[in-house]
């Protein structure tokens, strides 16, 4: 599904590599945590995965295709198969909660009544059914993040990448979100979750990738706080 092959990335030519010779392979239907200190490069890896950044060196293939060889339209079509939870929510401030969540379904026209139902269900699931018509400016950080999660999963993506989805929410909500991801994973979605939260990692039996100084230093079936 996703293959990083000796991938390096630097933001500007005179800067040193933020990501250095990275090798990761995420199989179809797998579930991984991506751990690493702040500034380790997790968001950078995610941005390469949704093709917001292209590797400055090495090969990255997504859905079996080299990203450097994709046309702009192909990139757009690939993105429709992906759900991305942005660290800052990635919401549009002039759209209300429901409109933000339904946005990915509007590219193909007006959502069907079945999709409308699905939108309401997912908003319920993240606990925001009473804030459907609120605008992001009036939401708390955690609420925004939950809207972002609902938006990322609403079109049942083949690949879900979540950048700190539990960063601003309490433990109960964090677990709830993880169950949602688990549920999607059971239906075939490949999941990668970046997190600092060690208790969350230990509560779920999924392998973790540990990122340090731009290099994956540990890839264990199960990562536990020492």
């Amino acid at each position: 599904m996703i293959r990083f092959d000796q991938v390096s990335y630097k933001y500007s030519p005179h800067q040193k590599d933020v990501i250095k010779n990275l090798n990761i392979e995420l199989e179809d239907g797998s579930f991984h945590f991506l751990c690493g200190a702040s500034g380790a490069g997790k968001t950078t890896i995610f941005r390469m995965m949704y093709m917001d950044l292209l590797p400055t060196d090495g090969n990255l293939s997504i859905f079996g295709r080299q990203v450097n060889a994709l046309s702009r339209d192909e990139i757009a079509i690939f993105r429709r198969k992906m759900g991305v939870v942005f660290q800052d929510g990635g919401l549009l401030n002039h759209l209300n909660v429901r409109e933000n969540v339904s946005l990915p379904l509007t590219l193909h026209g007006k959502p069907s009544s079945q999709q409308e139902k699905c939108i309401d269900e997912i908003i319920d699931w993240v606990g925001l059914s009473d804030k459907k018509n609120e605008y992001p400016a009036t939401l708390s950080g955690g609420e925004k993040q939950r809207v972002g999660i609902a938006k990322a999963v609403v079109n049942r993506p083949k690949l879900l990448i979540a950048d700190e989805p539990s960063g601003n929410v309490d433990e109960v909500m964090a677990k709830r979100i993880m169950y949602l991801f688990t549920e999607l994973n059971k239906h075939g979605t490949t999941v990668l979750v970046a997190t600092h939260d060690k208790s969350l990692i230990s509560a779920f039996d999924y392998p973790s990738l540990y990122l340090e100084n731009g290099i994956i230093t540990r890839s264990a079936k199960r990562w536990r706080a020492a």
Partner: protein, 283 residues
């Protein structure tokens, strides 16, 4: 296909509530109004000049001394009437003659009046033949030939027409620049929304169309407003100076519609180009 898309994604990249795009309507309306009124007025001046020109070319006045024999004068008038390409030869009455001369004499016209023959001709008239004919009767007749004057006036008019054409061109270019700067400033403010749409898989064409159609709608409003304003302005002018009616051709009305339309087209094209450039620069 596109209309279906627009319904739901439109709000994400909605330009209608954006103050810069409201400004665009205002700019299009005002500049469209100014340009249309300016160019329409110029066209009316051109019409006025053309009709004056035509009148001058088709008239010859012959002045004869007051002490000439009236019968001989009448004979000349009759003979001139039968010359090829002369439509009409007419001896002015004393009143008409006095009327013509009045502007040149402040204390009324009291001396014996000269004879004035007004001849209406077509452009094919053989002037040589015409002049010898007149001189055969009255060797010292003064034949008022407007050609010299016309040549002089027309070269001045041509020159001012070039200047006006130049100013109109510069005006249109400035307007086009203002419109396209407005559009690109507005779109720059939409960058986050555009990026968000791209991240959920919106294709370039989809976003460009979304922007272009909205600018098109706003340009239509601007076109409508400026044409109406220019129409009202011209209508008011016509009511105030009814003499202008002579020079008010359908062509002038067409200009009022076409000039603001051109500006709207400029707005739409520059929106499309700017949107294209901006969207393609974002991954």
């Amino acid at each position: 296909m596109f209309a279906r898309h627009a319904h739901s994604a439109k709000k994400a990249i909605s330009l209608h509530k954006d103050s810069i795009f409201r400004l665009l309507i205002l700019i299009l309306s005002l500049l469209g109004w100014l340009c249309a009124s300016f160019i329409a007025s110029i066209t009316m001046l051109e019409n006025a000049y053309n009709s004056w020109n035509l009148e001058q070319k088709s008239h010859i006045s012959i002045y004869l001394d007051a002490d000439e024999n009236r019968g001989k004068v009448v004979n000349l008038v009759e003979e001139l009437s039968s010359v090829n390409n002369v439509k009409r030869a007419y001896l002015l009455s004393e009143y008409e003659t006095a009327d013509i001369l009045k502007p040149y004499f402040s204390e009324g016209v009291s001396f014996p009046l000269p004879f004035v023959i007004d001849v209406t001709v077509t452009s094919q008239l053989d002037r040589e033949y015409f002049n010898t004919k007149v001189n055969k009767y009255f060797a010292n007749a003064s034949i008022d030939d407007a050609r010299d004057l016309l040549v002089k006036v027309s070269s001045i008019v041509r020159f001012s027409q070039w200047i006006i054409l130049f100013i109109s061109g510069v005006l249109l270019i400035i307007v086009a620049i203002i419109v396209s700067l407005t559009v690109s400033a507005g779109l720059r403010g939409k960058q986050i929304s555009l990026k968000t749409m791209q991240h959920i898989g919106a294709q370039d064409k989809f976003l460009i169309n979304l922007i272009t159609t909205q600018v098109m709608q706003q340009s239509l409003i601007g076109w409508f407003i400026s044409s109406i304003l220019a129409g009202v302005t011209l209508y008011a002018l016509l009511n105030y100076w009814s003499g202008l009616n002579l020079y008010m051709t359908n062509y002038v009305w067409a200009i009022i519609v076409i000039v603001p339309f051109l500006l709207s087209i400029v707005a739409v094209i520059s929106a499309k180009l700017t949107a294209k450039r901006m969207i393609k620069s974002m991954l």
